[in-house]
Amino acid sequence: MKRLTTRFLMACAAIGAATGVLLLPANFASFAISAAVPLAYAAMVGVWLIGPVVALAVLRRPGAALLTMLIAGIINIPTPAGPSAIVTNLMVGVAMELGFLVTRYRIWRPWLFYVTALVFEVVYAASAYAYFNIDDMAAAGKTFFFALMAVSAVGFTWLGLLIAGRVTATGVARGIAPGTRPVAPPPAPVES
């Protein structure tokens, strides 16, 4: 709890709320599209990853993805997904944290983001398999479904990292991420 400074919490809240506002139209659209064209759903899956990827890449602290997704879920309560969105969001948040947890939050390179996103997508695909009964689809459709999911995971992670890089360049998150703290000025010389 000590490391969860109010500033860090509020930065997570801000990223969660801002990505929520940006992705609200995408959420409604994906729900409508996925009912009509099942394959489009696979292409939209990566949208969920933008929030946690931006939070982790900008804030570089344990728990950033988890907190951001929890808060994004709390905001989503009035949407059709309802409070159950919190459960889904927490699942995505935990999945994105895992890759960084096993490397003990020491590696923040882009490849780890991509690997984590792809691993999450594989796990997610397994649950979607049962939900949409993909087993009964034609073989070509099946392959296409999973390929689309992987492409969407990588694509949206790339987009998230791109946005995160630009946000970091603005300097607003300076001092939140450890190691980027502004260097303290040298102590004033003692007057004699």
Partner: protein
């Protein structure tokens, strides 16, 4: 408030108790299990949801529309080799629509509709801040995280107007990628950076204001509004868990 109204039940129970039922419904392959789950959730919503106006219409006709659309869309994608022993309903060039394919599509549509309806049990009858309060007091979530959630709920209208200002500023300066979905996507990613930077800055200011007022100085925080956890919540949770046992057995008998 009446025991019959779903609004008087504990929000955490309403969110978590339907989850096992959703999992059973997702795991089912027949038509009856998801249909029964969806019907039970629909009846619960209609009887004790206190819905009116547009929401009532959406709950009544939305799932029917969803099932109808998904029956066709998933039916089309079904592997024809699995269902070519059933009746051919229509032939369009090389493509034949089999009745078995429609049945599989119907099962998928019912599954999705039942999960949506079960999620709406909480979604249409819960107030966001109450859910957060209940998570703090009943799930032992640290109150500082909960209050970050409260703050985020207040952020949303602000960021929405920020987004509008950024959009207008871009338009004034003639930042326009043209028309079509790709250009729209590119335009939106152009809004993302100023919006996020402004959002983080706003979060900084709010956190300073909160800390200046002593937020987080103590381990616990007294709530002005108390969200109760009562016997009726245990009854609701037991009922939803019992459904996980009853529905598959009942659908097996049908």
């Amino acid at each position: 408030m009446s025991v019959l109204s779903l609004r008087t039940y504990n929000p955490v129970v309403k969110v978590l108790a339907p989850v096992p039922a959703m999992i059973v419904s997702i795991g089912s392959r027949d038509l009856w299990t998801p249909a029964l789950f969806g019907a039970v959730a629909l009846v619960m919503l209609l009887v004790s949801g206190g819905l009116r106006g547009r929401t009532l219409l959406a709950v009544l006709f939305g799932p029917v529309l969803l099932v109808a659309v998904m029956t066709v869309s998933f039916g089309v994608w079904t592997d024809p080799a699995r269902v070519d022993h059933t009746i051919a309903l229509a032939t369009l060039g090389p493509f034949t629509l089999w009745s078995g394919a429609l049945e599989i599509g119907l099962a998928t549509g019912l599954r999705v509709a039942s999960v949506v309806l079960l999620a709406l049990l909480a979604g249409l009858t819960t107030d966001g801040p109450d859910l957060v309060r209940s998570m703090i007091s009943h799930l032992r979530m640290p109150y500082r995280i909960g209050y970050a959630g409260f703050a985020a709920i207040r952020f949303v209208p602000r960021f929405r107007s920020d987004l509008e200002i950024i959009r207008l500023a871009h338009r004034v300066r003639g930042v326009d990628g043209g028309r079509g979905p790709l250009a729209t996507g590119r335009r939106y990613s152009g809004y993302a950076v100023p919006l996020l930077a402004g959002a983080i800055r706003h979060g900084d200011r709010v956190s300073l204001a909160m800390e200046a007022r002593g937020f987080g100085a103590h381990r616990t925080r007294t709530e002005r509004r108390h969200v109760p956890l009562r016997a009726r919540d245990a009854v609701l949770a037991t009922w939803l868990l019992a459904l996980c046992y009853l529905v598959p057995h009942l659908s097996g008998a049908l």
